[in-house]
C-alpha cells in the first residue's frame, strides 16, 4: 500500500542493468587500470581488478560515460542482444 518499501537496502534487489540498450565491453589488453572509468561511473558499476576493470552488468545502465572517458579506447559500447 502506498508503494512503501518495507525493508531497508532493498534497492540492491532492483537490477537496473535491465534498462541497458548498449553494453560496455572492456578490452583487457588495452586497459591500463587508470580507473578514470571507475571514478566517472555514476552507478558504481565498474569493478576494480588487479590489472584491469570489469563491469557489474546487474547495475550498469549502459550510459557509455566509461567508454567516453577511457584514454586508451579500451571500452567499446555494443548493442544489447535481447
Amino acid at each position: 500500500m502506498g508503494a512503501v518499501v518495507v525493508e531497508p537496502g532493498s534497492s540492491l534487489k532492483y537490477k537496473t542493468g535491465d534498462w541497458r540498450a548498449f553494453k560496455p565491453l572492456v578490452d583487457r589488453e588495452k586497459c591500463v587500470n587508470c580507473l578514470l572509468c571507475w571514478i566517472y561511473c555514476p552507478d558504481s558499476a565498474i569493478v576494480r581488478q588487479e590489472k584491469w576493470v570489469d563491469v557489474n552488468y546487474d547495475y550498469c545502465k549502459g550510459c557509455g560515460i566509461c567508454a567516453h572517458e577511457c584514454p586508451k579506447d579500451a571500452i567499446k559500447m555494443v548493442e544489447e542482444q535481447k
Binding site: M1, G2, A3, V4, V5, P8
Partner: protein, 391 residues
C-alpha cells in the same frame, strides 16, 4: 448541548482543535485565512499540543503535511483557490502515499481575472487527484464533517486524504449558531490515529520510491479500491457520529425526492436555498425535490441513480465551468452514472455563481419551473444554461 456563534472558518478550526491534530502546516489565503489564523491562536495560547509549521507557500504547506503524516501524525491544513492550485502537485503525492490528511478548502474562483469570491473552480480542478471530497452547506456541516473526515481518512480500508469544502464567504464568513460537541465526546469518537506504516528510525521503511512500468499501475489500482471502500466506511462513521451528536449524515441528503418529478442536484450552500424554494413549490402542489451530494469524490453513483431514476427532469447545478467539456463536472458525473439505467431522466446543466455571482431563490424557482416543463413535455431546449450571466 453547546451552541456557539461561529463562521464556517471558525467552525472548521474548532473541529480541528477538538480532533487533536498533531501537526498543522499552512499558509494563509482569503477566504480560508481565518481557519489557520484561529488555529495558530490555539497554539499560541497553549490550548492544543499541535506543532504549527509556518511555511513560505502552499506547495511547502502540503509537502510538510505529507512528511508529517508519514510519521503517523494526525495532520490538518487548509487552503483556497490559487493556494490549492499551487498544492496540486503535492495533492497527488498525498493520496499516492496514502496520507490521511484532512484539509479545509474554502472554495473560491481561480484567476484570471483576479477574483476572491466563492465558486467551485478550485477543487473541481483537482477532482482526479485521489482526494475524498466533501461539500458542506453551512457552518454546522463544516464542523461535523471536519471531525468525521479524520475517521474516514484514517480508516484502515481507506487511508486517503479528505478535503472538506465550504463555499468561500457564503459559508466561511457567515456566522451561524453551531452546535458543538464536548471535547471529551470528540476524543472518544476520534481515537488516536493508528498508522499502518510510519516513518520510524527503529524500523526503517522507504516511502515514495521509484515505481515504473512494473508496479505503478497496481498501486493506482489499489487507490481505486480504497476509493471504493469509502462509501461503506463513511456510512459507518456517519452512523456512529449520529449516536454522538444526534445529527445524521451520509453520501447525500435528499429532500422531496421520493415523489419528485423535477429535481435539482447541487452541492454546497446553494442546496439550502434550493430546498427552501422546493418547499415553497411543494406547498403549491408541485412535485419537486433537491438532491445534495455531501460526498462528491468518490461519486456515489449507485445511490444517486436510486434517488433519481423515477424523476422525469433533473437540473444539475455546477458552480464551476468545465471549459470545453459537454457539461460541468457534477453534471458529467450525474449523466455518466445514469447511463446504466434503461429509463433515464431528462437532464440539463445549470452553470451558476461563477466568481461569486449571487444566486437568488427566484433563480432557482425559474430553473425548477423549467424542469417541471421538461417533465411534462419531455423536451430539453437548452442543455446548458448559464444562470444569471449577462450576454
Amino acid at each position: 448541548m453547546t451552541i456557539l456563534g461561529m463562521t464556517g472558518d471558525e467552525a472548521v478550526a474548532h473541529a480541528a482543535k477538538q480532533s487533536k491534530v498533531d501537526i498543522v502546516a499552512a499558509y494563509p489565503i482569503t477566504p480560508q485565512t481565518i481557519i489557520v489564523e484561529r488555529f495558530s491562536k490555539y497554539v499560541a495560547d497553549g490550548e492544543v499540543h499541535t506543532g504549527y509549521v509556518c511555511v513560505e507557500s502552499e506547495h511547502s504547506a502540503l509537502s510538510a503535511c505529507v512528511g508529517a503524516s508519514l510519521t503517523g501524525a494526525r495532520v490538518f491544513t487548509a487552503t483556497s483557490s490559487q493556494g490549492l492550485a499551487l498544492m496540486h502537485e503535492m495533492m497527488y503525492i498525498a493520496s499516492g502515499l496514502r496520507c490521511p490528511i484532512v484539509m479545509g478548502v474554502a472554495n473560491r474562483a481561480l484567476s484570471a481575472p483576479i477574483n476572491i469570491h466563492g465558486d467551485h473552480s478550485d477543487m473541481m480542478g483537482s477532482r482526479d487527484s485521489g482526494w475524498i471530497q466533501i461539500y458542506v452547506e453551512n457552518p454546522q456541516e463544516a464542523y461535523d464533517w471536519t471531525i468525521q473526515a479524520f475517521r474516514i481518512a484514517e480508516d484502515k480500508d481507506v487511508q486517503l486524504p479528505v478535503s472538506v469544502n465550504l463555499d468561500g464567504f457564503i459559508i466561511t464568513h457567515s456566522m451561524e449558531g453551531v452546535d458543538v460537541l464536548d471535547d471529551l465526546a470528540v476524543s472518544q469518537f476520534l481515537s488516536i490515529r493508528e498508522p499502518i506504516f510510519k516513518l520510524d528510525p527503529k524500523n526503517p521503511l522507504t516511502f515514495g520510491a521509484l515505481c515504473f512500468t512494473d508496479y505503478y499501475f497496481e498501486f493506482k489500482r489499489q487507490q481505486t479500491e480504497a476509493m471504493r471502500n469509502v462509501q461503506t466506511v463513511l456510512d459507518k462513521v456517519c452512523r456512529e457520529y449520529k449516536d454522538v451528536s444526534g445529527r445524521g449524515y451520509g453520501a447525500f441528503e435528499a429532500y422531496g425526492m421520493e415523489d419528485a418529478e423535477a429535481a435539482v442536484v447541487c452541492i454546497g450552500s446553494t442546496a439550502g436555498t434550493a430546498r427552501d424554494v422546493a418547499w415553497k413549490l411543494r406547498t403549491r402542489g408541485k412535485k419537486v425535490g433537491v438532491l445534495k451530494p455531501w460526498l462528491y469524490r468518490p461519486f456515489p453513483a449507485e445511490e444517486v441513480n436510486a434517488a433519481l431514476k423515477h424523476v422525469k427532469a433533473v437540473a444539475v447545478f455546477d458552480k464551476a465551468g468545465s471549459l470545453g467539456a459537454p457539461y460541468g463536472a457534477l453534471c458529467t458525473d450525474v449523466v455518466s452514472s445514469l447511463h446504466t439505467l434503461e429509463q433515464r431522466p431528462k437532464i440539463f446543466n445549470v452553470i451558476y455563481g461563477l466568481g461569486g455571482r449571487d444566486i437568488q431563490p427566484s433563480d432557482i424557482e425559474l430553473v425548477l419551473n423549467k424542469a417541471l416543463d421538461i417533465a411534462e413535455t419531455g423536451l430539453v431546449k437548452e442543455e446548458t444554461m448559464f444562470l444569471g450571466v449577462r450576454e
